[in-house]
């Protein structure tokens, strides 16, 4: 079962094409990273999924249900953590949650229990009677998450959930989201912190100018787009580079005495053998693991050029 299926979704704001035949799928149970530069169309796509934006072209389904024709069904399956705080200002933290439960059809008792459970889980119980405006930024973020989880959604969409959140809380939230995912909730995450996507997501998609550049398993994408690097520093500057190293694709900087190689299976071993065989002394070895950030930048740069 696909949690989300989007086919050929186009959306215009006046003449500006925010989404351009966007197509992708999210499998049930996935932790799906939705990356892209500012203005790429991430939030627009999320707004279409959750019913906050209309569209004219394309087909958008959530767990097989059309988001326009069966909007009541799809909305009951989705929990949204929006980018901006959009709480009802007339109510306290606890009542914001209880109202949300009510809107989703939960009875008074059930909504009260669920609100208590979530407030405790997200360390907000002490602040339950406070006006949301008096909560700190991190608490408001947690309250947004609690609100989205009130009705136990099968799909949780988080639009920049850790923007402006300190590192400690960010780690706590990551752990919380991982747990939700393990328990079966499908998650879609947009973030500006590539590290966040790298830490959390199983699948990564990159959207640019309203089009999907790629959707792949995180590890495949990283490996495919960026191989990591090996750097070896020689003790003395080399007079010349051994031919076998050149055929491995090595580049040598005579000034810094650094030899760079693309990382791949056995490359380090071979390079070391060649260098030792040629009597070259090595001072330092560095292996840089492939990073999603580099893959991401490479993808976007390729697209731009």
């Amino acid at each position: 079962m696909q949690a989300v299926e989007i086919k050929n979704l186009s959306k215009f704001y006046g003449k500006f094409r925010a989404l351009d035949k966007l197509s992708f799928e999210v499998k049930e149970g996935d932790f799906f990273g939705f990356l892209g530069p500012n203005g790429a169309g991430k939030t627009t796509a999320i707004r279409v999924l959750t019913g906050l934006a209309n569209y004219k072209e394309g087909d958008v389904r959530v767990f097989g249900h059309d988001v326009i024709k069966e909007y009541r069904k799809t909305r009951s399956l989705i929990g949204l953590v929006p980018q901006e705080f959009n709480f009802d200002p007339f109510f306290s933290a606890e009542w914001i949650l209880r109202l949300e439960g009510g809107y989703f059809g939960m009875g008074t008792k059930e909504a009260k229990q669920r609100a208590e459970e979530l407030l405790k889980m997200l360390n907000l119980w002490e602040k339950r009677d406070q006006d949301y405006k008096k909560l700190s930024g991190g608490m408001k973020r947690r309250l947004l998450i609690a609100r989205a989880l009130m009705h136990r959604p099968k799909l949780l969409i988080l639009d920049e959930p850790t923007a402006g959140v300190d590192i400690e809380l960010r780690f706590e939230l990551w752990e919380f989201l991982r747990k939700l995912n393990r328990e079966g909730t499908t998650l879609i995450l947009t973030t500006h912190y590539i590290e966040e996507a790298e830490q959390l997501c199983d699948t990564i998609s990159v959207i640019h100018e309203g089009r999907m550049l790629t959707v792949e398993k995180k590890n495949d994408l990283v490996r495919k787009m960026y191989h990591g690097e090996i750097e070896l520093e020689t003790k003395q500057a080399l007079a010349e580079i051994p031919q076998e190293l050149l055929s491995l694709g090595a580049v040598y900087d005579f000034k810094t005495r650094r030899l760079k190689l693309m990382q791949a299976n056995g490359v380090l071993n071979t390079a070391l053998k060649i260098l030792v065989g040629a009597g070259i002394e090595i001072e330092k070895v560095e292996v840089r693991e492939p990073k999603l950030e580099e893959a991401f930048l490479k993808l976007i740069r390729e697209k731009k050029s």
Binding site: L52, R75, E84, N86, D88, F90, E100, G102, Y103, G107
Partner: protein, 254 residues
Amino acid sequence: MNRLIGFQTLVWREIVRFFTVAIQTLLPPLVSSFLYIFIFGLSLGKRMGELHGVPYLQFMLPGMIMMYVIESAYQNTSSSLFISRWANYIEELLVTPLSYTEMVFAIIFGGLVRSMLIAAGVFGVASVFVNLPWAHPLLVFYFLILVSLTFSCLGMIVALIAEEFEHLSIATTFLITPLVFFGGVFHSIEMLPAKLQVVSQFNPMFYMINGLRYSFLGVSDAPIAGCMLVVAALFVLLFAGTVLMFRSGYKLRK
């Protein structure tokens, strides 16, 4: 999942909202209605004699109650919806599984509750000075409820069109208040020149005010069937318009 719960929750939310700002929403009509009764009814009214065979204070009261119902219903939904759009927490509601018709119904129900409380309050203030005979009690509720729902819908429509707060009061100042006053809260159209009597008949408020006047007193400037029809038709029209705007996502789903 119980479908009714979502609707009830939103109705409850709408009611709590105006109660938390009761000083702005519930009290002012009571104060100003007392002033109207005192000045027009008790002081000037004595010199007015009878209209349609009823004392002036009695004559103006149904119109005055209708005026407050219209204003409070409109104010409730227009400010509730506009603020939620302006501060963006309307999105909290738009992602829920309530149907668009349920959303509209719940919000106008909030307007209905507020305006009925105010109608009861004004009636209570008036009862100190004068008795209304309740000539046709069922019709009293017919007019109060339908007119309240109609202006709750109008409030929502204006709240969707408005770009700034002041647009809400522009509609009150330049449309609702003049039409209510010309509709005959304080006068019978018999007191107007012939041409103005004809013009008055194009004013929908004329039928609302006279409908309620007939329901309370058994006297009216307009035939009661006509009043009932105008009120029902306007409600159907504005309700359908509001639901259509919600369904199409006008200014809601960008």
